[in-house]
């Protein structure tokens, strides 16, 4: 019991040993207390004989809506040539706030060789709404197949398609993904 109280944060650990030593003497008190707890918990669990008001449900109330994405998303381009990953720089895609993406591009073969010095374009559309972003993000090369895309802003919640296009030697390859904000 003392271990439980310590783990619940109700009893400092250095007081627990002292309490254990005294439990033998104070056993009656413990028994009385446990009876009281048991009675209370039985009431709480079963409703008891008297009518009780059920505890109201509670939820967290986040002030900043969006989607947490701690792990990178991965997709292969439609032509099968490249494997792309992308993740929001802060691990979170906010609704209606600017954010950045980190994108990696590699060959979709056993070499997984990074594609350096390409151009990456990200476009997002809301099929249900008939429009896309009201921004045109641009990318910068970070090296070793990594790119940063600046200027992202998804101004509404809902279903967004995400098209990540890489331009290699003038040829575009696009990978498709989607987000539900």
């Amino acid at each position: 019991m003392t271990d439980s109280l310590v783990s619940m944060g109700c009893l400092p650990r250095n007081h627990a040993a002292r309490l254990r030593r005294r439990l033998g003497v104070g056993a009656l008190g413990v028994v009385v207390t446990l009876v009281l707890i048991g009675a209370s918990c039985a009431d709480a669990a079963s409703g008891g004989a008297a009518p009780t008001v059920p505890a109201p449900a509670v939820v967290e109330l986040p002030a900043r809506p969006g989607l947490a994405l701690s792990e990178p998303r991965a997709a292969v381009t439609r032509d099968g040539l490249y494997r792309m990953t992308w993740r929001p720089s802060e691990g979170f895609v906010p609704i209606n706030e600017p954010f950045e993406l980190e994108v990696t591009v590699a060959r979709n073969d056993e070499t997984r060789a990074p594609i350096a010095d390409a151009e990456v374009v990200v476009t997002c559309e809301m099929p249900a709404h008939g429009h896309g972003m009201l921004r045109e993000p641009r990318s910068e090369v970070l090296g070793e197949g990594r790119y940063r895309v600046r200027g992202m802003l998804l101004h509404m919640g809902g279903h967004w398609t995400v098209a990540v296009t890489v331009l290699v030697d003038g040829v575009a390859s696009t990978a498709d993904d989607a987000l539900d904000l």
């Binding site: 109700c10 449900a57 939820v59 209606n96």
Partner: protein
């Protein structure tokens, strides 16, 4: 029993009761997990789902106004006091009878209740209210200004609105002892406006192809046709023996061109400071404690008394707003607006008004843009905001989503003021009758009628009325004494 035993028994009982207290303080959440009873969780009132309650966290409270690095005087009390004087000063117009407050009347919730505004000449669009205006991302219905201080300058020199010039704005401040003292205490010395050779009357740069000037010319032509008179000097061109003379220069531009570039810069600096003072004042026009906000406080604090701030009809309207009626798609966040642009196909909207598409063009050549020489921070958030604007605009006639804070007090509605009441707005979105022609780029989600009963619509209107909080300090609603 040993007295120490009594003590020990008592301590054990207290520890156990403390444990019981913790257990009873844990409340069951809707997902079956237990949530600490600390005030980090919100109540789920009867009739609401957990998801609905979670969504409300993004709608309230209204945060503090965002910093504006492009205006280093944004939160300067002296600048705000000067700005308040300027806001109510009717001398700052061609007629001497029109101030910012003429259209943005505090007694009318900082609007005018007319379908479209009327300055010196009629305008095309409805006067937006100014509640929480410092939170806006873009200004005007088409977003052709990117800061509050820059927006404040445009109406002065618009031939449709104040029809004034920057030289005369600065001259009014210069010649009024109170305004001049307030100005110079904050911004430093004014240019010597007594020197009429350096600072000629009615001087300003006249932007080429500016839409307000095009409209003003149309008004003048129509007036001339009605009076069977020759066009006046407000025209951009005149004719000699029926041949258009293309080297015509607007008199304001001609006076401007007489000035030395350093005097032009000094005059513009003082004009810009007037705009920054007006912005500092307008940042104080705040609405943040409507019954809806009290209701959300009640959710967070689990306070039944605060939950009663919304009656049953308003609570049903709120659930519709964030649910089946789909209002939340565009009207989300603490201002009930995404602060961006959509084509709603408002009834009677002139097809000649392209909205955001023209706003973007104007913004790219805007003299007072946040990345321009008059900004106090060209490379900060203003750069991020402007650098990624779309180059490839589509054909939609898009207008900014208005805030719904105090919406019950800001009729009529839509960018052209076509709908007189909130009930009309609900009917328009629900039934999609009298919609303007489709540009092909309209909000597709608005195309389908909504299945809203008469009771649903009444509940939604009741909820919208619960966004009302006009409890502004009366001292801010008139010129300072």
């Amino acid at each position: 029993m040993d007295p120490r035993t009594h003590v020990t028994v008592g301590r054990c009982a207290l520890v156990a009761l403390a444990a019981l207290g913790v257990a009873c303080g844990r409340e069951r959440a809707v997902d079956g997990t237990t949530t600490p009873a600390a005030p980090s969780g919100a109540l789920v009132p009867e009739g609401f789902t957990a998801e609905e309650v979670r969504a409300l966290g993004a709608y309230s409270p209204v945060p503090a106004a965002p910093l504006d690095p492009t205006n280093r005087y944004a939160d300067d009390p002296g600048a705000a006091r000067l700005g308040q004087h300027l806001f109510f000063d009717e001398r700052l117009s061609k007629t001497g009878a029109m101030s910012c407050a003429t259209c943005h009347d505090p007694a009318r919730s900082f609007t005018d209740h007319d379908p479209v505004a009327t300055g010196v000449l009629p305008l095309e669009r409805n006067t937006p209210a100014l509640w929480n205006v410092a939170h806006q991302r873009w200004f005007f219905w088409d977003g052709r200004a990117d800061s509050l201080w820059a927006q404040a300058l445009v109406p002065f020199e618009s031939p449709l609105e104040h029809a004034f010039t920057r030289s005369e704005v600065v001259r009014v401040i210069h010649d009024d002892p109170t305004l001049r003292a307030l100005y110079e205490a904050t911004f430093g010395p004014l240019p010597d406006m007594h020197d009429r050779r350096r600072f000629p009357a009615w001087s300003r740069p006249v932007p080429a192809d500016d839409h307000a000037h095009v409209l003003a010319a149309q008004h003048a032509a129509e007036a001339a046709a009605r009076a069977s008179e020759r066009p006046s000097a407000t025209h951009q061109h005149h004719t000699v023996d029926g041949v258009a003379v293309n080297d015509w220069v607007h008199p304001h531009q001609r006076a401007w061109d007489w000035m030395h570039p350093m005097d032009q810069a000094a005059l513009t600096r003082a004009f810009v400071n007037a705009g920054k003072a007006l912005a500092a004042y307008q940042r104080k026009i705040v609405s943040r404690r409507a019954p809806f906000d009290v209701f959300v406080e009640g959710l967070r604090e689990r306070d039944p008394a605060k939950l009663a701030a919304l009656d049953a009809s308003q609570q049903r309207g709120l659930r519709l707003f964030i649910g089946r009626a789909q209002c939340f798609n565009c009207h989300h966040g603490p201002h009930f607006s995404d602060l961006e642009f959509h084509e709603t196909r408002a009834p009677g909207a002139p097809l000649s008004d392209p909205g955001r598409a023209r706003g973007l063009e104007a913004l790219r050549r805007f003299e007072f843009a946040g990345t321009g020489e008059w900004s106090d921070d060209r490379e900060g958030p203003a750069r991020d905001k402007l650098d990624y604007l779309p180059v490839h605009t589509h054909a939609g006639r898009e207008f900014k989503t208005p805030t719904l804070r105090n919406v019950a007090r800001t009729a009529p509605y839509m960018h052209n003021g076509a709908l007189a009441t909130l009930e009309d707005v609900l009917d328009f979105y629900a039934d999609r009758v009298n919609v303007a022609p489709d540009s092909g780029s309209g909000e597709r989600i608005l195309a389908q009628p909504l299945d809203l009963s008469a009771e649903d619509r009444a509940d939604l209107v009741a909820f919208l009325r619960a966004l009302t909080d006009e409890a502004l300090d009366p001292a801010l609603c008139a010129a300072p004494r």
